[in-house]
Amino acid sequence: MEIVIALAVGVMFGSGIWLILRPRTFQLITGLLLMSYAVNIFIFAMGRLSVDRPPITLSPAIDPAQFADPLPQGLVLTAIVIGFATTALYLVIMIGARGLTGSDHVDGKEPRE
């Protein structure tokens, strides 16, 4: 499990870095999407991994060890929603910049090459 998660985070983050270093705005937005998956899972994994132990306490007398850590989950939940909002903002800036400059290059103009 742990090795799979670690590799998954690595692959997504690496792909994300590659993409945000690319020159086209759409590549950048895809890169940010991938990076946010990676970072969300990374933060989530800080509570360690647990299978079949959702943090739903049906009775007051409980053993905390029997539940997954709820704190990173709460943080990641907000991160997912905020990530959605920033993606939307970035998207609008992306299409606005393309309309304004006529180019979809991240610098707003085609490179001289």
Binding site: I5, V11, S15, S50, P54, L58, T87, R98, V106
Partner: protein
């Protein structure tokens, strides 16, 4: 409340030994009521008895001082919300506030006249020893009287001055906010709090000067005034902090009693310079005087209120206030009096050569403020009496003069003295009033200006003693100049009538002139019977600020033949002669600039300084910044990789945990997820849609992982967000440039590009490996004790819900969530605002080729036709039938959220998706003619509900956002538990729905707009992007 009389140490150092000042003896200081003049006592007792009749409960109830400060601010909010043309209601509101304040002030007179210091204290930052402290002594009382009384007159005047076309709510709102800030400055008993209100006066003054913001001079003047005074305010803050450091408290009473400690401290000079910078900038003292003439771009009521009577007096007020703590050293005299002398000469001299009525008054104000500053700088008790006296006198005659100038401007349409002339015939009453006020300004006997100027002359004589006459010479010169400019001012009423004026002048409305009449009457009364009229008021302020050093002084019009009188006569005659020479020998009427001094232009220096600052910033940006994003991001990623390696210590010992085991299915799922990520990265340049689908695949795998690893809430949210994000990006794709054709592809890349890609690849691989290694390293270590246990133990018992994640979001950490939904709303509105201005690139403005293809049955139908009768009919009807079910599912997930996976976020996203699929199938036009959606209202309602739930806790005396769970027994439904967090979650739900809808719909409407013909688009250009049914 405690007695304001300071401990009778009497140890204040006197500024100069041998100065002939009649100090009150210790015994006299105790019995402050003893005065020589019988009139004086009579008048005070009369006032006192009148005010004794006020009911005692009202005399000093709790919060009375606080209400003085906060009522104007509340009224300011109300004023801002009134309709554009509510001139009368606005004026009544503002006048009501001033009258309320005056009643409170009057009711406090008995207590203040007994020498008590009223204090009201509220906890602000108790841990830091900071309290919100309001404190009223005699000095504050007199200043408040000044602020409120002149405020009332200005409001009355402004009612007639402002044109019906001016947006009056903004004017009165700012004016009231200014009044509140000014009262805050005067009433502050805590130095830090005083600075806060001080900066508020700068801010409101900025808004008022720039009131006519379509005018470039108003914007420039406002910016200049704000930059200078607010910078001074920052210096003052620093000075106050130093003072607080020396004394160990910011409490004004403690600071004022610690004068000897402060003066002996090494940091005394630092504190003094910083505080002086604050006061001198505010009171427009040399070399910071240049902002005041430019502030004359403000409407005249503002000039007459802020820039003559109140705000510019805040600087000198502060100096008087801190006089017991800071004065009595050579540094004090040199800095304060030095600046004052320069100011009074420069201001008075330049004033003679102004041809703008308000410009003349502005320079005259600068000069009179200089006079007050000199007196404070001299710092002897008698000089302080003169300073306070002149503050009051100057406010009266200068406010009336500004108002008179405003009337002339209002009636003739110009303020240019080169054009104006002979106005005596058309405006006889205004002319008379202005002439009397000018005489007060010039210091003509029997008017109030004469009395304080006489005192000033007397003080300059004391400073120099028998040998040094420089100060007196300067004073006489200033007196001559002020006579000259007063003559210049009244010259517009004499001579032959002006030929062509923009307007034919008439006397102004009765009540527009009334404030001027009242103020001029005050000048006369104070000038003739000072002891009866102003005596008791002045006495209050003087005894409060000078305490046991209160000197004996005599307010009388006639002191016999003495040196100050001789100086007055010289100034008067010299001024007339100077004016005559300038007028007839040097053609004063046509001169445009002052001789000599026009080269020392403070405003020019200011502009140059601002410009070089901008240029320096640009230079720095050119040197350090780059417009290219790629190198920036590359460096950032490189730093991300290397910096942690440099900073990290030795890795901890590796102890391998009993792992959760290896599940081949899980590995298989991630094989797909990882492949999707890499393939997406590969495809993103040439195949955008494919890349989007692939990245979506990774997203789904991420959601599955959350579900697998005991995070059902996260899985749900991720799934819904994935859906919405994909739709969002799909909507955006069509605005990107068309796909690059294969023939254009450069299959051989240049060497530089190849090197760059290789470098990027290395960084990407290294970054991925580093994060993978870090993740693994963390996962194989046992978790240290976290606060997780607290939430797990308390969710059910304390939060009333078994879904700990949801309880965490809406209860334990609800303040975070409130912040988060606010961010969501802000982002949604930003997206909406950005799209309003969106103009597509020419090549994507047309309908995309896929939609125009002749074989597509849809290309011949509009989206609405497709859904109603076309080939999407079946699917469309199914989806319409599904809408209520999706709504129910959304409600279901919302309701169970507190106990089982679900909650406001998830339910909101589900609801948004339910609407979204209708849009996708039937098109925006069809949906919006059938359903009325108002995303803005959802946003607003959601935020309001979330805040109101939080505030509701206050009503029960709990901290913000405390939750309470109510258990209801309902028929049929059984026991229902209703935590207040439920309402909070409902707010979250509404915000999420509003955000998602607003963003997606605004984006979707771009396609509709682009399809319109050019003519239609032009007609629609002013409307918001997402118009139609959603608004």
């Amino acid at each position: 409340m405690r007695d304001g009389a300071a401990p009778g140490t009497g140890s204040h150092r006197r500024p100069r030994d041998g100065t002939p000042i009649t100090h009150a003896t210790e015994a006299n200081a105790r019995k402050k009521k003893e005065f020589s003049s019988i009139d004086h006592v009579l008048a005070r007792d009369l006032l006192w008895y009148l005010l004794r009749s006020v009911p005692p409960a009202f005399r000093h109830g709790p919060m009375l001082l606080a209400s003085l400060v906060f009522v104007p601010f509340i009224a300011s909010l109300i004023a801002a919300l009134m309709p554009q043309d509510a001139r009368n209601r606005e004026s009544w509101l503002a006048a009501g506030v001033a009258v309320y304040g005056l009643v409170v002030v009057a009711s406090l007179y008995p207590a203040i006249s007994e020498g008590t210091v009223l204090r009201e204290e509220f906890a602000w930052l108790p841990a830091q020893g900071l309290h919100f402290l309001l404190r009223m002594d005699g000095l504050a009382w007199v200043f408040i009287l000044l602020v409120l009384a002149i405020g009332l007159l200005v409001v009355l005047y402004a009612r007639y001055y402002m044109s019906p076309d001016d947006p009056v709510p903004r004017f009165f709102s700012f004016l009231l906010a200014f009044m509140g800030s000014m009262l805050g400055v005067v009433l502050s008993g805590n130095l830090v709090q005083l600075v806060v209100f001080w900066e508020l006066t700068s801010l409101t003054s900025f808004l008022l000067i720039g009131y006519w913001h379509h005018r470039a001079d108003a914007r420039r003047g406002a910016r200049m005034a704000f930059t200078v005074t607010a910078t001074g305010g920052l210096c003052l803050l620093a000075g106050v902090l130093v003072l607080g450091h020396i004394v160990g408290s910011y409490d004004l009473d403690i600071v004022l009693a610690a004068g000897d400690l402060i003066r002996a401290d090494d940091l005394y000079l630092t504190a003094l310079v910083l505080i002086a910078l604050g006061a001198l900038t505010k009171s427009a003292q040399f070399p910071f005087h240049f902002w005041l003439p430019h502030a004359m771009a403000a409407p005249t009521p503002v000039s007459s209120y802020l820039h003559s009577a109140t705000m510019v007096k805040a600087g000198v007020f502060l100096l008087v206030r801190l006089w017991p703590a800071l004065s009595g050293t050579p540094e004090w005299t040199w800095i304060i009096a030095g600046a004052g002398v320069c100011t009074l000469l420069i201001g008075a001299f330049i004033a003679i050569f102004q041809h703008d009525l308000k410009g003349l008054l502005a320079y005259s104000t600068i000069s009179h403020l200089g006079l007050i500053t000199v007196l404070i700088g001299i710092g002897t008790p008698l000089a302080m009496v003169a300073a306070i006296f002149h503050i009051l006198n100057h406010a009266t005659f200068k406010a009336s003069l500004f108002m008179a100038a405003g009337i002339i401007d209002h009636e003739t349409g110009t303020r240019d003295m080169r054009i104006l002339g002979g106005l005596r015939q058309k405006l006889p009453i205004t002319a008379t009033l202005a002439i009397v006020a000018s005489a007060a300004m010039a210091g003509v006997p029997l008017l109030n200006g004469f009395l304080s100027k006489e005192m000033f002359f007397a003080e300059t004589l004391h400073v120099g003693g028998d040998r040094n006459w420089w100060m007196s010479t300067a004073a006489i010169a200033m007196g001559m100049f002020s006579v000259a400019y007063s003559l210049r001012f009244i010259s517009i009423f004499f001579g032959k009538p002006a030929g062509e004026l923009p307007r034919d002048p008439h006397e102004p409305p009765r009540w527009m002139r009334f404030p001027v009449e009242l103020l001029v009457l005050t000048c006369l009364v104070v000038g003739m019977v000072p002891a009866i009229s102003i005596g008791p008021v002045l006495d209050l302020a003087v005894s409060a600020s000078l305490r046991e050093q209160t000197p004996h002084y005599d307010l009388a019009t006639w002191h016999g033949w003495n040196l100050p009188l001789l100086m007055s006569v010289i100034a008067l005659l010299g001024g007339i002669a100077l004016y005559a020479v300038l007028r007839w020998r040097f053609n004063l009427r046509e001169r445009t600039r002052a001789p000599l001094l026009s080269h020392f232009n403070g405003a020019q220096a200011y502009e140059t300084a601002m410009q070089s600052l901008t240029r320096a910033a640009e230079w720095l940006l050119r040197r350090l910044g780059t417009a290219k994003l790629q190198p920036q991001l590359f460096l950032m990623m490189l730093a991300l990789l290397t910096l942690p390696l440099l900073l990290a210590g030795a890795p901890p010992e590796w102890t391998i945990l009993p792992l959760e085991g290896f599940d081949p299915l899980f590995a298989g799922v991630w094989l797909i997820g990882g492949a999707c990520a890499i393939a997406g990265a590969w495809m993103a340049k040439y195949h955008r849609l494919t890349a989007l689908v692939l990245v979506g695949g990774t997203g789904i795998v991420t959601a599955a992982t959350f579900l697998w690893l005991s995070a059902p809430d996260l899985a749900l949210t991720q799934l819904m967000v994935e859906t919405v994000t994909t739709v969002l990006i799909l909507l955006g794709l069509r605005w990107l440039p068309p796909r690059i054709e294969a023939s254009e592809l450069q299959l051989t890349v240049s060497r530089t590009v190849w090197i760059r890609r290789t470098l990027h690849m290395i960084v990407a691989v290294a970054g991925g490996l580093a994060l993978a290694a870090l993740t693994y390293a963390v996962l194989v270590h046992p978790a240290s004790d976290t606060i997780a246990d607290f939430f797990l133990y308390n969710a059910l018992s304390g939060g009333g819900g078994s879904n700990v994640v949801n309880v965490l979001l809406v209860d334990f950490r609800s303040f975070d969530t409130l912040g988060e939904v606010t961010v969501l709303a802000i982002v949604a509105l930003t997206v909406y605002a950005l799209l309003r201005r969106f103009r597509p690139a020419p090549d994507s403005a047309e309908m995309p080729p896929q939609q125009r293809h002749a074989f597509d049955p849809a290309s011949r139908q509009s989206p609405a036709e497709q859904a109603d009768s076309g080939y999407l009919l079946v699917a469309g009807i199914y989806l319409r039938l599904l809408l209520p079910f999706m709504g129910v599912i959304s409600v279901y997930f919302f309701m169970r959220g507190h106990n089982l996976p679900g909650g406001g976020f998830v339910a909101g996203l589900i609801f948004a998706v339910a609407i979204l699929v209708q849009y996708m199938l039937a098109g925006a036009t069809w949906v919006e003619t059938h359903i009325t959606l108002r995303p803005h209202r959802w946003l607003g309602f959601g935020l309001l509900l979330a805040c109101a739930t939080g505030l509701g806790a206050w009503a029960f005396g709990h901290p913000f956002l405390t939750t309470h769970t109510a258990h209801l027994d309902l028929p049929l439904l059984g026991e229902l538990h209703m935590p207040s967090a439920f309402l909070f979650d409902l707010g979250v739900f509404a915000v999420v729905v509003g955000t998602t809808m607003l963003m997606l719909v605004a984006l979707a409407h771009q396609s509709l707009r682009a399809h319109k013909k050019p003519g239609e688009q032009a007609a629609d250009a002013g409307l918001p992007a997402a118009n139609g049914g959603m608004l």
